[in-house]
């Protein structure tokens, strides 16, 4: 068992597709919350093999895409402070803030470094005692525990030159806000597999219960996604709404309780601003006061100035699922991966980037 190639088998995929075709009667619209699912759906051509009754729709689950300009501007202002080393996961560097990007200020001389893991930022801090090392804490539930673990390790090692700028966000409150807005009517939710490894499938139970929407947690191989669609179609046809798991090798109902405890020790919920969705209560995470010595917002006096949004970009609507990238007049003309106007064209999981890469025109 390699846990990869087995779940890409063509013959088994055809079996699942045939089953979906046989059982799907009602036209349905399913949203994949997670940007990694959008990528997998395009990469494996899943939209093309599903029957006409089944439509899939990209959701807001791309951490880089949903980061608001005010937060990007703060990170850029911070990176410009002399003596600061800004450490960040790769894609973030190219995202345009109101006026510039981390990549552009790096070209002007700011010390901005790409890291693969939170552990790298700790090492940079240990190696550069005379500098202040800031870790850009970005990501949903999947990533937050790794940042919490790094903060706890920094405390244990008594690092005094390490801090985190927390952009961490919670997925279920965003999904709730989206459903409450009434902008999109969904018949099913393809729940994020790696977020759910941490939160457990229990995180989605309120959606099935309170909104009557079937929820199935999916992995990221083609058979995982097809199984998820099959389970959702079956629930719809039986007029059921519950939470099921199409990724049982990795996800349990309770989730990773060790990771949950670490996050809860270090972070507390706070309101957070989402691109396209405004401020959503208790949808962000900030460091608890006990860990303020690692909170970049507490340590540095940051004034990024007024924000502005790129003219013509409809990222916000794309993230809410009310428009697709093809509805954007800039898509592919002015805005493309070499010249991204909005965040959704930068992130390798952004809908605009994915549509561009896989030629969304022939979806």
């Amino acid at each position: 068992m390699k846990y990869a190639s087995e779940f890409r088998d063509n013959r088994l995929a055809r079996g699942l597709i045939a089953k979906i075709e046989r059982s799907s009667r009602t036209p349905v619209k399913f949203m994949e919350f997670c940007g990694s699912h959008t990528v997998a759906i395009f990469r494996y051509g899943i939209r093309q093999v599903l029957p006409e009754t089944v439509t899939t729709l990209s959701g807001p689950g791309c951490p880089i895409c949903v980061t608001a300009n005010v937060d990007l501007d703060k990170a850029i202002a911070l990176a410009r402070i002399p003596n600061v080393i800004m450490t960040s996961f790769g894609d973030v560097l190219r995202v345009p803030g109101s006026y510039t990007s981390l990549q552009a200020v790096r070209a002007e001389g700011a010390d901005v470094r790409v890291i693969y893991s939170a552990m790298d930022a700790l090492k940079i801090a240990a190696d550069n005692p005379a500098k202040q090392v800031v870790l850009l804490g970005i990501g949903f539930e999947t990533t937050t525990p790794t940042i919490a673990a790094a903060i706890l390790q920094a405390k244990q090692e008594s690092l005094t030159n390490f801090s985190v700028l927390s952009w961490h966000k919670l997925s279920p409150p965003a999904m709730k806000a989206l459903l409450d807005s009434g902008d999109v009517a969904l018949d099913g939710l393809i729940c994020p597999g790696h977020v759910s490894i941490i939160t457990g499938s229990q995180a989605w139970e309120f959606i099935a219960r309170d909104y009557g929407i079937p929820c199935v947690v999916a992995g990221f191989e083609p058979l995982d996604i097809l199984q998820c669609v099959d389970m959702l179609v079956t629930q719809v046809e039986k007029k059921e709404a519950r939470v099921e798991i199409a990724y049982s090798r990795g996800v349990q109902r309770e989730g990773n309780t060790v990771a949950q405890k670490l996050v809860d020790m270090v972070f507390e919920p706070c309101p957070a601003q989402w691109r396209g969705m405004g401020t959503i209560p208790a949808s962000g995470l900030k460091l608890r006061p006990e860990y303020s010595m690692f909170d970049a917002e507490e340590i540095f006096d940051i004034d990024p100035g007024p924000t502005r949004e790129p003219a013509g970009c409809i990222c916000g609507e794309v993230l809410r699922g009310v428009s697709t990238p093809l509805d954007c007049p800039l898509f592919g003309k002015v805005c493309h991966p070499e010249n991204p106007v909005g965040a959704c064209m930068v992130s390798s999981e952004g809908s605009c980037f994915t549509y561009y890469l896989y030629g969304g025109k022939n979806e």
């Binding site: 068992m1 390699k2 846990y3 990869a4 087995e6 779940f7 088998d9 013959r11 088994l12 055809r14 079996g15 699942l16 045939a18 089953k19 997670c34 940007g35 990694s36 689950g61 791309c62 951490p63 880089i64 996961f89 894609d91 693969y116 893991s117 939170a118 552990m119 790298d120 970005i138 990501g139 949903f140 999947t142 990533t143 525990p145 790794t146 673990a149 390790q153 994020p192 597999g193 790696h194 977020v195 490894i197 941490i198 990221f220 058979l223 199984q227 049982s248 090798r249 990795g250 996800v251 990773n256 060790v258 990771a259 670490l262 992130s347 999981e349």
Partner: protein, 76 residues
């Protein structure tokens, strides 16, 4: 951003494991997954193992897919 990939634990030293991912050995932090043992497959996200993978569940899922594929073939 939530990309995470399966890797096989080859050895463990304290909270760090050597994990083989697609033929390449990488270091993975086990702080979020302290139950992991040598020989387990873990799912690794930004250098941290976030869960072990359940072989029994994986086998049962694939058997289910086999059964579904057989039904589809018989109907053809």
């Amino acid at each position: 951003m939530c990309v995470a990939i399966p890797g096989l634990i080859k050895s463990i030293d304290g909270s760090l494991a050597q994990v083989e991912i697609g033929g390449i050995t990488q270091t993975a932090n086990l702080q979020l997954c302290p139950q992991a043992k040598v020989g387990d497959y873990v799912i690794v996200h930004t250098g941290y193992a976030i869960n072990t993978l359940d072989q029994q569940e994986a086998k049962e899922t694939l058997e289910l897919f086999e059964a579904i594929a057989r039904v589809a073939q018989e109907e053809n």
